[in-house]
Amino acid sequence: MTQQLLIAPLLLPFALAIALMFAWFHIRYQRVISIVGSVASLGLAIWLFGRVWQGGIISLQAGGWAAPYGITLVADTLAVTMVLLTAIVGLAVSLFASGSMINQRLRYGFFPIFHLLLMGLNGAFLAGDIFNLYVWFEVMIISSFVLLTLGGEKAQLEGAVKYFTLNFLASIIFLTALAVLYGLTGTLNMADLSVKIALIEQRSLVDVCALIFFVGFGIKAAVFPLYFWLPASYHTPPPAVAAVFGGLLTKVGVYAMMRVFTLMFTRDPFIENMLLVVAFFTLFSGALGAMTRNNIVKVFSWLIICHIGFMLAGLAMYSELALAGAVFYMIHDIIVKANLFMLAGVTNKITGTNKLQMMGGLYANYPKISLLMAIPLFSLVGIPPLSGFWPKLSLILGGIEQGHWPLVAMILLASFATLYVIARVWAEAFWKKQPEFERPAGFRYFGDYPVLKRVLMLLPIGLLALVSLYIAFGAVHIQTLAQRIAAELLHPEAYIEAVLGSTKELMP
């Protein structure tokens, strides 16, 4: 029965989306359904996590068709961790959207599409078949297109054109890579691919295939030369949407890279050097971009790019310590980035602007809220013992161990850049006195909202801040988890056995 329930993280958001579609014109019900459903998703994710943590990898063959012929769902520790994080962010964004989003946008179906997006995310994490991963990616990006354009303001449409074009291009490149891979091996099941790719003699063809995959996932993950769509579009949607984008969507690209470059493409110098160089420049360009921007949402967008570099660096170094650092960083980053974009939404409602020069006076006017917001901000910097500190420690130690000095230097530099950027945000937005400026007519300030809505906006920030604090002070647990994930990624035998084990005798 446990196996059957592996499909539940996909079916629950799907059923929720259907229920929400039936309630299309009743926004009040939609809010309730969405929040209750998100709590249920969280419970389910925790339960699934517990099962996998205790019992090891679970796999499910949909429709009863045995792997490698059928569609496989696999829940290893990395996958269930990501599903759990998705559920946490999903709940937070659900609450935040109920409080902050105007009814006009909700009427165009924010909640149903949001839950379809969560289904796509869960599907991508649990997929054990690379074509299925592609399909879930598409579910995800179609939902994200709609969420991005919801409301149809000029800025949103302009951002959406860029976002759409590059993400569609990434899908086509992914599809091309799939075609090459299928031509090479004749299978699409990831466990089966892991076995068969190792047997191919023309390694240069495998490298080309890996490179195409890297470009496809790289666009989605916003790595160095391929990130331009991200800062052009992430500052345009409403904060609830930006939170789920910033927290989860780019990380799916990183997740896919982690899967593909540990399970399928065994390391050779070509792939390793490529990842190292790209990680280096991603850190560099993201940090530079964040330092030079004056719009708080744009600053956070560039910080996403910068911090993708940390995860990529861990993947590039490919030792258990560094990989554990990358996984730990991803866990920390998903929670904090989602929180930051919600935080930017609240500061916008308080000060009436996103421009750092125009902001100010937050600490003087709302000291308690400011202290709450300090938690995600300083977690991001990684001031010890807050949550960003521990994974960086692993990454740097891993880098020193293997002698990747330039990358270690760049990790340190990017950390200092983050510190500088956050210090500037703090000084400008929280400590400075707010200058007078012309405000748009009819702007609804934070104080004008009813108490319930204000609580709904602050509750998710508090929730995610609590999770961040847990990651910081319960770092031992997270580190154990990250090390177990890293060990599973480096030794995929258990994964392969969980998928193919029962069918091995059938193979000719």
């Binding site: 074509f131 179609i142 303001e153 000029k154 075609a179 299928y182 031509g183 004749g186 030079t292």
Partner: protein, 117 residues
């Protein structure tokens, strides 16, 4: 046949990328459609072309004994076509809305919110 298809896929990719590099929104969509078709054909080609050999296991046998037409690429292409159908429908509505709001279809002109700030 393989060579013909390979050339055609190359032409589709080239034409698609060329169209994407133009500055017009409509040509961008055309380019994306061409690229998608090229990718679908590539899957079809790389799944090996076999004619008139359905993958049916003969009675009494356990495995397929001779070359057969692989059904997987066709299933993949069908899925990919359905997905790109949805995406293209969205894209067309998107460019229509964008054109109405921005009042231009020159991609260089739709950068008003991208300025350095």
């Amino acid at each position: 046949m393989e060579i013909l298809l390979a050339i055609m896929i190359g032409v589709l990719y080239a034409a698609g990328i060329y169209m994407m590099f133009r500055r017009s929104l409509v040509k961008l969509i055309i380019g994306i459609i061409l690229l998608g078709n090229g990718a679908n054909l590539l899957i079809f080609l790389l799944g090996r072309l076999v004619k008139g050999k359905p993958p049916i296991i003969a009675e009494g046998s356990k495995y397929l004994s001779e070359a057969y037409a692989d059904p997987v690429p066709q299933a993949l292409i069908l899925t990919a076509i359905v997905i790109s159908f949805g995406l293209q429908a969205f894209a067309i509505v998107l460019i229509k809305r964008t054109y109405k709001v921005v009042k231009t279809e020159d991609l260089d002109q739709i950068n008003t919110f991208d300025e350095f700030e």
